[in-house]
């Protein structure tokens, strides 16, 4: 089931997501590969809205239009990514483009981002993918859907799924403050996101 978000807003869009973190030979993060497969119902809205020639299919130009629209919009939300090392946010470069496809009546979006500065696999790294506005529910159905390719031996990987009820109960007042200080919710919502955590010990 859908697993996050303060109950104030309900998502209108559901996406099955996969994240793959790739690692350079020198032990730095190479890229984050994202794949989102959107639900049938939202996908049909997209079809309706972007089907310029009314053939009930999205051809290349129309898909490009979808890609551009989503790309522009996602830029405002850091492409739904949250990366941190030892609790500090890590800046990610925007993806050069989005790949958009329509398969089995489902919209798919694929893109890849890289850290702005070299990001060493050391300490505690967290990778979250979420929509801070809760419009889209990004679902990682299984822990394996957040993967690392070429994880060094000194790192352990875990997937954390925060329990929204628990968070709400524990942080009622902080969340209230956060809402009013930051109506866009960009800062507070990350604690609800399913995240991939890597703990890397000293290299040895």
């Amino acid at each position: 089931m859908w697993s996050g978000g303060p109950a104030q807003v309900h998502p209108h869009v559901f996406a099955e997501a996969r994240l793959e973190v790739t690692v350079n030979p020198d032990g730095t993060v190479k890229a984050l590969r994202n794949l989102w497969r959107f639900d049938d119902v939202f996908s049909s809205t997209v079809l309706m809205e972007f089907d310029q020639n009314s053939d009930l299919k999205l051809d290349e130009a129309e898909l490009q239009e979808v890609a551009d629209t989503v790309y522009q919009s996602l830029a405002e939300f850091n492409y739904f990514q949250m990366v941190s090392r030892d609790g500090k946010d890590v800046a990610m470069a925007p993806p050069p483009s989005l790949m958009v496809d329509f398969q089995d009546q489902q919209l798919m979006i694929i893109f890849e981002t890289t850290p702005k500065e070299p990001l060493k696999l050391a300490g505690k790294l967290a990778f979250g993918v979420y929509d801070p506005t809760f419009y889209t529910a990004i679902d990682f159905a299984e822990d394996e859907h957040m993967a690392v390719a070429g994880l060094p031996a000194n790192c352990t990987r875990s997937v954390v799924r925060p329990d929204p009820d628990e968070i709400l109960a524990q942080n009622q007042s902080t969340l209230t403050d956060a809402f009013f200080n930051d109506p866009s919710g960009n800062n507070m919502s990350k604690i609800f996101a399913t995240r991939l955590e890597l703990s890397c010990g000293a290299e040895g």
Binding site: W2, Q8, P11, D40, M48, T69, F179
Partner: protein, 354 residues
Amino acid sequence: MKKTAIRVVFGLLLLTYLLTHFLGHAHAQSSLGIGTNEAMVPSTGLFSGFMNWVNAHQQSFYRSLTGALKAMRQDGGKLWILVGLSFGYGVFHAAGPGHGKAVISSYMLANEVALRRGVMLSFVSALLQAATALLVIGLVFLFLRGTSVSMTDATWFLEIASYVLVTLFGAWLLWTKLAPRLAGKLGGAAAHSLSAASAPHVHGPNCGHSRLAYRGAAPGTSSGGFSAEVCEACGHAHLPDPKMLAGDRFDWRSAWSAVAAVGMRPCSGALIVLTFAFLNGLWVGGVLSVLAMALGTAITVSILATLAVTAKNVAVRLAGDGRAGNRIHATIEIGGAALVLLLGLVLLTASLQA
């Protein structure tokens, strides 16, 4: 007595405030850039527990709803599941954030509206909302595909129009409540005696105050059209029965603007369901589902509006028939009108900023 009265007034205002506090919802371009999001002011305070419960249900309904749609694509017999779920979604959607119930409730607080009529208003506005959704998707599906007008644009336009109407409606409502009092203060005895004379009439507080005041309202507001009607009704207010009908007609006219203000903004859930249904050729399913949603919404809005009016009546009764009672009555009415105006402005601002 007076103390109780004041307490009741504040209690009521607080209640209305709380009831509408978490309705601060506005258009927001969705994070994906496709479709519209309903950005909301968080629900905190007394009702947050209840609201969270409502939202949790709404979410699971929405999920089941999309599941039922997919199931129906394979098996037409699943239609009734979809209709049932849509009904449930409507009930919970209206209990959650939304401007419909705020406008209808405030309208009913601000006016002498019989409960039965208020319930009717809720139903009519919910049905209009369903009709708008059908119209939008129908137009998009049949004509607008392939044009530069997207569904997101169309919805946004309707939303702005709806909020403009809510604002104008609130302004007009507030004016009709305040103007007679101002006129009474400024114009002195004449206006006062008029209002006193009309007191036994059912529409007493709204009616018969000052013709001038209503006339004054005419040029500035979109609702000016029926200001003459008001004057006429009031002019004859002391004649027997048939004139009540004139009063009735007035109610309906103003009620219609409330209905239009609410119904013009289609609910996003309905739009999504319809889009999917139409694209998959599930015509009957889509229409029935949206109607069921409207029915559910209407029931919830009716209940909430009834609660608001009952609370008002209790307050007025507690305060008695004297001056305190009148004052409470007036305060609630003016408060209700101000609330509609405020709500319209907040929504409109947020919508235009998006």
